[in-house]
């Protein structure tokens, strides 16, 4: 375990850590985007939250708003894709891939998810969002394949 104390000896692991953190932070920012839309659109999920914009609790503010729901679907899609990327990517990193190959995987994935978010929240016409989703999935599948090939 002592060799785990330092990340500085493995370039692929350093790259993975950087890109994993970036894409996890991007995913977590969706929470704040949701909160921002709930406050500005005055559309809350809980009665007690309505007091944040109203002097008294107001049942009429416990409503579903399309902007809020769109950001939440984008957040959900992140959960469904970013977390598998990080988990598979960690195992992939441990197979000892080439740095250039690994960097290609990590960068394409992070790029695809940033464009996915822009396409989703910006309501861009399809298939822009679908393509971004597919690119991210294919990167994860490629890493999964490398792990299975190494393990079996």
């Amino acid at each position: 375990m002592s060799s785990l104390s330092s990340m500085k000896d493995n370039q692929v692991f350093l790259a993975f850590s950087t890109y994993a953190i970036i894409v996890i932070l991007k995913m977590m920012l969706m929470s704040f985007w949701t909160s921002y839309f709930r406050l500005t659109r005055k559309a809350f999920a809980n009665l007690e939250d309505t007091k944040l914009v109203s002097p008294t609790e107001d049942k009429k503010l416990v409503i579903v708003n399309p902007d809020v729901e769109r950001v939440r679907r984008c957040h959900q899609n992140d959960l469904e894709n970013v977390i598998p990327f990080v988990l598979v990517g960690l195992l992939y990193t441990l197979t000892g891939p080439e740095l250039s190959t690994a960097l290609l995987h990590f960068r394409v994935f992070v790029g695809s998810r940033i464009f996915h978010t822009i396409a989703y929240v910006g309501c861009l016409p399809q298939p822009s969002r679908g393509l971004c989703f597919m690119v991210g999935v294919l990167v994860t599948f490629s890493m999964a394949w490398t792990v299975l090939s190494t393990a079996l």
Copy 2:
């Protein structure tokens, strides 16, 4: 960290990697199942997606469909159970368990989630789905217990 470069020295880690990848891929396939049902049932979550099956954007196709929702609930249940399994399983693997014990955990979990999906999407009568869920949870609890026993 250099010792992380190769997965080939640890049988339990190789087994964990294989089963973790299998169950993550199974979880990711739910996205495609959802898309397939959205396209064939013509039930979309976003207005811009309706153009995939209609010449113009069609508000009437932004509806909730029970088949789509069922697959999505199954996907959600995977998120709630498969990700904890992979996270706890990684820590469990690092405690240095017996290969046979570890394989038993991993195989029972993967089997339970495959049957859970069949029971959910196939609308099998209860308690089939509930039992599959419980078996998976118990495997994760057993691994969590081993980690806590080792760490404390």
Copy 3:
């Protein structure tokens, strides 16, 4: 990889494992809380589940119940925050932080999520829940910052 076989050589890793398991188990308990409310409130998501409390399948029990939805929103918030904590925390642990600093991060996060659950399910007035959420996010951001500083 052989050095991964034992967790006993790294105090920070032992601490991380313990707190990660605690907070993952807390998250998984939300599933049982949901099931408990579904059974006692008689509000199910699937027609086949209604047979658990009714002699025949009963469409009238496939309804949305506010208590069930509240627990589910709390579970969803856990997925959105606990999983990033565990993933970022694992990378953070590998940067070799001071044990006391690491323990502070882990303990504050676990505490914030336990109070978050109490505030959410107990319908405590805001900003109690919002503050608990923010504390947890700030802990994860702090660990993410440490990982990025070490990796870059």
